[in-house]
C-alpha cells in the first residue's frame, strides 16, 4: 500500500471512508484555533510581519463575532475539532485504490477522463496538469498577466498584493471572513494589466497541484482598466475532501471598463459545511458576472455580491442550487448600487428533493443618488416532492426614487399533468422528471461553458435517480 496522507486537514469522517492516516505531514497544527496556530501558519509560509499582524487582528475579530443565527444550522459545527493548517509531506498523497467506490462510480457515470479523476480525487499523477499550468503561465506572462498561487502572489508581488488584499472583503465583514483572514491558505492570485483580454478561461484546476486549494482558500483577482477575464473554479464532479469545513474568501477588483466572469460549481461531499464570501467591486462601465452552482455539501451559505461603485457599472449573478436529502443550500446574491446608471440582474434557480432545503437569500440595495439604476431579480424554486422545502428572503432597500426594480419569485412542483403529458409520449417517468428538471435549469445551463453544462445535466440525471414516486 502506498503512503496515505490527506491533502489537507483531517476530518471527522475518516473512519466512514476507511482512510488510514499515518501522520506523514511535515506539519500539522493542533486541533482548534489559537493565536499560536495563526503565528505558526504565518511563520511556515515565511510571511512578512504585516501579514502576520493582519492575521492576528482577524483572529480577534473572529473571536469577538457571534456565530450567525440566520441562515443554516451551524450548531453542529464544532470548531475545536478542526485542524486549521496541515501542510502535506508529499502532494502525491493518496492512491487511486483508496478513493471510495461510490466516488469512483460517480466518475464513471460522469465519463470523466482517468487523469482528471485522479486529480479531482486528490490522487497523484498530476505531472501533465503541471505542464499545462506552466505553459499557460508562460503565455500569460508575456502579456503581463500574473496567475499564481496566493502564496506566490504575496511573495512575488507584495505591493500589488498589499494594495488590494482584504479591501473587498475586510476581515470585519463577517465571522467566517475573519476566520479566513486569520488562517487562509491556498487559492489564486491573478492580475490582468490594462486592456489585456485573456481569451481562454483560467481554471484553478491548472494549478491545483502547485498549491492545493485548502479549506481556507483565498483568491484575489485584479482586472485592471479594460481588462477581460473568465475564471473557473471547482467542478461538477464530486469533490472528495477529508475536510468537513470549507470557508473561502474570493475578492475581485473590476476596474473601469473591465469585464470579469467568475464561474464556480461546488459538489463537495455531503458532510461539508461550506461558508464562502465572494465579492466584487465594480468601477465605472465595468462588468462583473458570477455564475454560482451549489450541488454538494451539507450546508452552503454563499451569496456572491457586486458593489457597483462607478457610473454605468453592471453586475450579473446566475445561481443554481440543488438540495438533496439532508442538504441545505442557503444561497443567492447581493447587488449594491452605489453609483448612477448601474444595472444588475440576479437569476436564481433552486431544486429541492426529499428533506433537502433550498433558500434564496438576496439583497438588493440602491443608494440615494444612484439615479437611473435598473435591477431585475428572478428566483424560481422547483420542489421534487412533498417533503422538499424552499424559502425566499429577498431583502430590498431602495433609497433612490429614480430607479427601476423588478422582482419575481416562483415556486413550482413537478406537476402530475406535466409528467403525464411527457409519459403519454412514451417517455418513462424517471426520464420525464429529469427532463422537467433540466428544462427548469436551462436558462442557467446555457450560460455555462459547454463541458460544464453537459456535466451539470449528467449530474442532475444522476441525482434524480430513485426520486420517482
Amino acid at each position: 500500500m502506498p503512503q496515505d496522507t490527506t491533502l489537507a486537514a483531517l476530518n471527522l469522517d475518516e473512519y466512514k471512508f476507511g482512510f488510514r492516516d499515518e501522520d506523514t505531514y511535515v506539519y500539522k497544527s493542533e486541533r482548534g484555533l489559537s493565536r499560536r496556530i495563526v503565528e505558526q501558519i504565518s511563520s511556515m509560509k515565511e510571511e512578512p510581519e504585516w501579514m502576520l499582524k493582519r492575521r492576528l487582528k482577524a483572529l480577534d475579530i473572529y473571536d469577538a463575532k457571534p456565530v450567525p443565527k440566520w441562515g443554516g444550522d451551524l450548531s453542529t459545527l464544532d470548531m475545536d475539532r478542526i485542524y486549521f493548517y496541515v501542510r502535506p509531506a508529499d502532494r502525491e498523497s493518496r492512491s487511486w485504490d483508496d478513493v471510495p467506490e461510490d466516488i469512483k462510480r460517480t466518475f464513471d457515470r460522469l465519463g470523466i477522463p482517468e487523469a482528471e479523476r485522479r486529480s479531482l480525487s486528490g490522487v497523484g499523477a498530476q505531472y501533465e496538469s503541471e505542464m499545462v499550468y506552466h505553459r499557460i503561465k508562460d503565455e500569460l506572462s508575456q502579456k503581463g498577466v500574473i496567475f499564481d498561487s496566493i502564496e506566490d502572489g504575496l511573495r512575488n508581488h507584495p505591493d500589488l498584493f498589499k494594495r488590494y488584499f482584504g479591501t473587498i472583503v475586510p476581515a470585519s465583514d463577517n465571522k467566517y471572513a475573519a476566520l479566513n483572514a486569520a488562517v487562509w491558505s491556498g487559492g489564486s492570485f491573478i492580475y490582468v494589466p490594462p486592456g489585456v483580454e485573456v481569451e481562454v478561461p483560467l481554471q484553478a484546476y491548472f494549478r491545483v497541484n502547485t498549491e492545493n486549494l485548502g479549506q481556507f482558500e483565498r483568491t484575489l483577482i485584479i482586472a485592471d482598466e479594460g481588462a477581460k477575464l473568465h475564471y473557473i473554479e471547482g467542478c461538477t464532479a464530486p469533490t472528495y475532501s477529508t475536510d468537513s469545513f470549507h470557508s473561502g474568501v474570493i475578492e475581485i477588483v473590476v476596474s473601469r471598463g473591465a469585464n470579469v466572469r467568475y464561474t464556480t460549481i461546488q459538489n463537495w461531499s455531503k458532510n461539508m459545511y461550506n461558508l464562502v464570501t465572494q465579492r466584487a467591486r465594480v468601477e465605472s462601465e465595468g462588468r462583473m458576472a458570477w455564475t454560482d452552482g451549489n450541488l454538494g455539501s451539507k450546508l452552503t451559505m454563499k451569496y456572491p455580491s457586486c458593489f457597483l461603485v462607478g457610473p454605468g457599472a453592471s453586475g450579473e449573478i446566475l445561481s443554481i442550487a440543488y438540495a438533496g436529502p439532508g442538504q441545505h443550500q442557503d444561497a443567492g446574491g447581493k447587488m449594491v448600487h452605489a453609483a448612477p446608471h448601474t444595472t444588475s440582474e440576479i437569476i436564481s434557480k433552486s431544486i429541492s428533493k426529499g428533506s433537502g432545503r433550498s433558500t434564496y437569500r438576496g439583497l438588493l440595495k440602491v443608494h440615494a443618488g444612484a439615479v437611473g439604476s435598473v435591477s431585475n431579480v428572478q428566483c424560481d424554486a422547483l420542489l421534487l416532492d412533498e417533503a422538499a422545502r424552499t424559502d425566499t428572503y429577498p431583502y430590498i432597500e431602495i433609497e433612490e426614487q429614480n430607479a427601476s426594480i423588478g422582482h419575481e419569485a416562483t415556486v413550482t412542483k413537478i406537476g402530475d399533468e406535466q409528467l403525464f403529458y411527457l409519459m403519454s409520449r412514451g417517455i418513462p417517468q424517471a426520464e420525464a422528471r429529469t427532463m422537467i428538471v433540466r428544462g427548469f435549469i436551462e436558462p442557467i445551463a446555457r450560460e455555462l461553458p459547454l463541458e460544464y453544462a453537459v456535466e451539470l445535466n449528467r449530474l442532475i440525471e444522476f441525482e434524480m435517480e430513485g426520486s420517482v414516486g
Partner: protein, 266 residues
C-alpha cells in the same frame, strides 16, 4: 406473433363494458362503454358536455387522475388498463391533448427525439441528422417555421400552434391508435383544415393509423369523414351509425338522442 388473418380481423382496440370515474370520486362517469376499432378506421365519438368523452380518452391513455371501475380494454389483443401511460404509448397509443402542457426549457426537438428514442433500444437511437430531416419535413407539411423546433414545448404557443404541435408529434411518433380529445376546439378554419389534413394523411395514406376522434361539434367532420360515429350520453354509447349520424346531430342537436334514451335511463 399474430398471424396475418388475425392481424386483419381482430380489432385493434376492444372496449367491453368499461366503467370509470375520477379517482376516488363517488360517482361513475362511464357506465358501461362498448366499442371496437380496427386498424385504419376513423371513429368519431360525439356527445354533449359531461357525457364522459374526455374520461374515456383519459382512461385509454392512463391518466393517473382517472380509474376504471369495471369492464376491460384490449389493445392489440392485450389487456391495457394495468399499464403505465408511457408503456401504453410505446405500444402505440397516442393522446392528442385538449390542453397540452407547457414544459419550460425543453425544446420541441428535444422532446420529440426523446419520445422517439424511448421506443427504440439504447444502441439504436435515431441518428440526429435523420431526426432533424424528418422533423423539418413534417413541420413544413404543417406550415410551421423551422425555428419552431427550438421553441419550448407549448410555452407561449397560440391555440393553433399547440394543436399543430400535437399533430406534429403524432406524425413523427406514428402511433397505431390516435385518441384525439377535442382537438378541434379553439381552432380557426385554416388551422382546423391543416390539422384535419394531417390526421387524414396518417390514417388513410401513410400509415394505417386508427383514430378515435372525440368532438363536441360536427365541424371537423367536414374535413375528416369517419367510418363510424358514436354518441355518448350519460356514460353510455346511446347511438352508433355512419357519417350520416353526425349530420343528423348537426341539424337536430343531442336532445333527440337524450329523449330516446330517457325512459331507459336511471
Amino acid at each position: 406473433m399474430i398471424d396475418d388473418r388475425q392481424h386483419i380481423d381482430a380489432p385493434l382496440l376492444s372496449i367491453r363494458g368499461l366503467r370509470g370515474r375520477v379517482t376516488d370520486a363517488p360517482e361513475e362517469i362511464l357506465r358501461g362503454v362498448d366499442l371496437e376499432i380496427r386498424r385504419g378506421e376513423i371513429h368519431a365519438l360525439m356527445g354533449p358536455n359531461g357525457s364522459g368523452k374526455s374520461t374515456l380518452a383519459k382512461l385509454l391513455s392512463g391518466h393517473p387522475g382517472y380509474e376504471a371501475t369495471g369492464g376491460e380494454v384490449l389493445f392489440r389483443g392485450e389487456p391495457l388498463l394495468a399499464l403505465d401511460p408511457d408503456e401504453r404509448a410505446r405500444r402505440g397509443i397516442f393522446l392528442a391533448f385538449q390542453y397540452p402542457m407547457e414544459i419550460p426549457g425543453v425544446s420541441i426537438a428535444n422532446f420529440v427525439r426523446t419520445a422517439m428514442n424511448a421506443r427504440r433500444a439504447a444502441e439504436d437511437e435515431i441518428p440526429v441528422l435523420d431526426f432533424y430531416d424528418d422533423l423539418q419535413a413534417q413541420m413544413a407539411t404543417l406550415q410551421m417555421e423551422p425555428t419552431f423546433a427550438e421553441r419550448f414545448v407549448n410555452e407561449g404557443f397560440s391555440g393553433g400552434e399547440k394543436k399543430r404541435s400535437e399533430i406534429l408529434q403524432m406524425a413523427l411518433l406514428k402511433p397505431e391508435l390516435a385518441v384525439m380529445d377535442e382537438t378541434d376546439s379553439g381552432l380557426d378554419v385554416d388551422a382546423l383544415r391543416l390539422v384535419a389534413e394531417g390526421v387524414v394523411a396518417l390514417a388513410r395514406e401513410r400509415t394505417s393509423m386508427a383514430v378515435l376522434l372525440i368532438t363536441h361539434y360536427q365541424r371537423i367532420l367536414n374535413y375528416i369523414t369517419p367510418d363510424r360515429v358514436h354518441v355518448l350520453v350519460r356514460g353510455r354509447i346511446a347511438r352508433s351509425g355512419g357519417a350520416e349520424l353526425a349530420m343528423e346531430i348537426e341539424s337536430r342537436g343531442y336532445d333527440f338522442i337524450r329523449e330516446e334514451l330517457a325512459p331507459a335511463a336511471v
